[in-house]
Amino acid sequence: MSIAAPEAAPLVEVRGLKMHFPITEGVVVSRKIGEVKAVDGVDLTIRRGETLGLVGESGCGKTTMGRCILRLEKPTEGAIFYDGTDIASLGRKSLVALRRRIQVIFQDPYSSLNPRQKVGSILSEPMKVHGIEPDAARRDQRVRELLSLCGLDPNFADRYPHEMSGGQRQRVGIARALAVDPEFIVCDEAVSALDVSIQAQIINLLEDLREKFKLTYLFIAHDLSVVRHLCQRIAVMYLGHVVEMAECDELFDNPLHPYTRALLAAVPVPDPTIEALRTIQPLSGEVPSPINPPPGCVFHPRCPIAVADCQRTAPALRELRPGHWVACSQVG
């Protein structure tokens, strides 16, 4: 599947990725009694310099996708090409080198920073690991630069995380990701825990940094308004599958998959005049368990347009319009 524009070779190419977690029983002799199919056959490309949004509800596999690309999980099946190299099967040593190029920003700025470490030490640790700026004085200088780059007072290097607000901590998390000069950052719900007024500050910061350092982001989020603002392309996940993928405005203005339509319609718009005229037809039921996903199309039990065949045949992603991919046999 090649949907990247000809001028830009993809930075990340995911092919047929599966991540199944075993469910085991027994303490001494454990045996597998089932598996959670968190990611179940995903193809995805991330172009150099773009922000790809990965959206979906809890349990859809979006975080597991991110963790696989970071190689925090070893995928069950499939390939992940990062800049041409398949990283799905890389060994420990080569992974260390890879991690200098790929970084991550987590959701919760409270639990992703070590409470016993000063900010300065949090930021210099990745540099020590990767042998960047071995000279201590130069390293401290870089810590101060990173802090001011992320909109913090350089003197924050002497503070502990608990002395800072949530927004300030998230800035430290961003500075830590930048410390090793990466080219690709996975942002896993990076602004979800922040208050509205702080969220906008961090979104702007992420955009400025992307332009300044020519970064590529995988932006994993459930907040569709944030995604629309930040991303060039969006992939929608449901129960371990990508069900739709398109350019950002195309996806929002012209959603094709019934799940994407329901998801977009469920988000109320901050405008009472628009909302007064709009009726919401909420999707019935709930997301089935990934331990025992429905046969055929995983969305068919909740789908308003499902036909009998949807229970048997799993639809593949098809390009219905240029760059707009949909996994549904009933649209197009």
């Binding site: 509800e57 809890s58 607000s165 927004g167 300030q168 208050d195 509205v196 007024s197 702080i198 969220q199 906008a200 500050q201 979104i203 702007n204 955009e207 459930h222 569709l224 308004s225 944030v226 629309r228 603002h229 930040l230 950002c248 405005d249 929002f252 203005d253 329901a262 998801l263 977009l264 319609a265 469920a266 988000v267 109320p268 718009v269 901050p270 405008d271 009472p272 005049t273 628009i274 909302e275 709009r278 919401i280 909420p282 999707l283 019935s284 709930e286 997301v287």
Partner: protein
């Protein structure tokens, strides 16, 4: 300044026109404080508002703005110590809740006023069946026997859209999904036919499609049963869709209050205006960078004189540092704002609209 069609948008709702009927709930100058290691925190610092019968009022604000504490204070659910309701009146149905005995207050909670909290897993008892938790409330407040209570419980589960209610009644909270648990919470809140339900971030822990199910359900039930609703949220989309009236809170005070249309289309407080401008919109292609509110919310232990929003405010003048602006009616749109410069805010906001 405002032409006629625009003014029509702000017209008061039918139930607001009958001036003689007193509101269902009237909060007057409510103050709640907490003693903390860092000093005294005035979490709610003199808020006043009213809720009419059948009306949905949203309270919006960011973390620490006092929106939850304000609602819990109405129910007198503030842990003491360290908390204390320092003053004010809450007139509900003609009685001041602050003057009731503890026993009388227990009758009100879950009886005349229902409650729905954010995290249904922690607000339901894990060792009691769903059925028992509903019947307990009914027996407590209605003094009916078990059989009648059980019949009512079954009816309530059907009302909140739970399929196969007979089986669900025998189940325990951990056997239900998050959305289902929140439906049970709503059933319990409705059990004794309350006149008011207070919902504190009722869908924050839920996914968007489940959030839509729960909110549409709450809206249709409150309309049908004529129940007033106070919904506390930080989500401006939810407010726009479901609220008739809105109170915007900042640092323990209501800074702006009015109809949803007025608040969104003609904000009169700089915080409201900035808040609305800072959120990305799901229905519009991105235009430019977001326009965030610089700085962070104030530390409530170090709140000095004057307006708490002043350090982040584009409109701040010298007077804002020495005097705290009161919440006063502004302009023709029927809302109130606590800002000395609300007229200048109005000019800016209307020009932008």
């Amino acid at each position: 300044m405002i032409d006629t069609p625009v003014r029509a948008r702000y017209q008061r709702r039918p139930w607001e026109e009958t001036e003689s009927v007193p509101p269902l709930l009237e909060v007057r100058n409510l103050r709640t404080e907490f003693r903390t290691g860092a000093g005294l925190v005035r979490a709610v610092d003199g808020i006043s508002y009213a809720v009419d019968a059948g009306e949905t009022v949203a309270v919006v604000g960011e973390s620490g703005s006092g929106k939850s504490v304000g609602a819990l204070s109405i129910l007198r659910l503030i842990p003491s110590p360290p908390g204390r309701i320092a003053g004010g009146e809450v007139i509900f149905n003609g009685r001041d809740l602050m003057r009731l005995s503890d026993a009388e207050m227990r009758e009100v909670r879950g009886g005349e006023i229902g409650m729905v909290f954010q995290e249904p897993m922690t607000s339901l008892n894990p060792v009691l069946s769903i059925g028992r938790q509903i019947t307990e409330t009914i027996e407590q407040h209605r003094g009916v026997d078990r059989e009648a209570a059980a019949a009512r419980a079954l009816e309530l589960l059907g009302l909140v859209g739970i399929a196969d209610p007979q089986r669900r009644l025998k189940q325990y909270p951990h056997q239900l999904s998050g959305g289902m648990r929140q439906r049970v919470m709503i059933a319990i809140a409705l059990a004794c036919e309350p006149k008011l339900i207070i919902a504190d971030e009722p869908t924050t822990a839920l996914d968007v499609t489940i959030q839509a199910q729960i909110l549409e359900l709450m809206q249709s039930l409150t309309h049908r049963l004529g129940v007033a609703l106070i919904v506390i949220t930080h989500n401006l989309g939810i407010v726009a869709r479901y609220a008739h009236r809105v109170n915007v809170m900042y640092a323990g005070r209501i800074v702006e209050s009015g109809s949803a249309a007025a608040i969104y289309h003609a904000p009169r407080h700089p915080y409201t205006m900035a808040l609305l401008k800072s959120v990305p919109r799901p229905d519009r292609p991105r235009q430019a960078r977001l326009d965030p509110i610089e700085g962070s919310p104030p530390d409530l232990t170090r709140l000095g004189k004057g307006c708490a929003f002043r350090p982040r405010c584009r409109f701040a003048i010298e007077r804002c540092a020495s005097e705290t602006p009161p919440l006063e009616p502004v302009g023709e749109t029927g809302q109130s704002a606590a800002c000395f410069r609300s007229h200048d805010v109005a000019l800016t906001a209307d020009r932008a609209a």
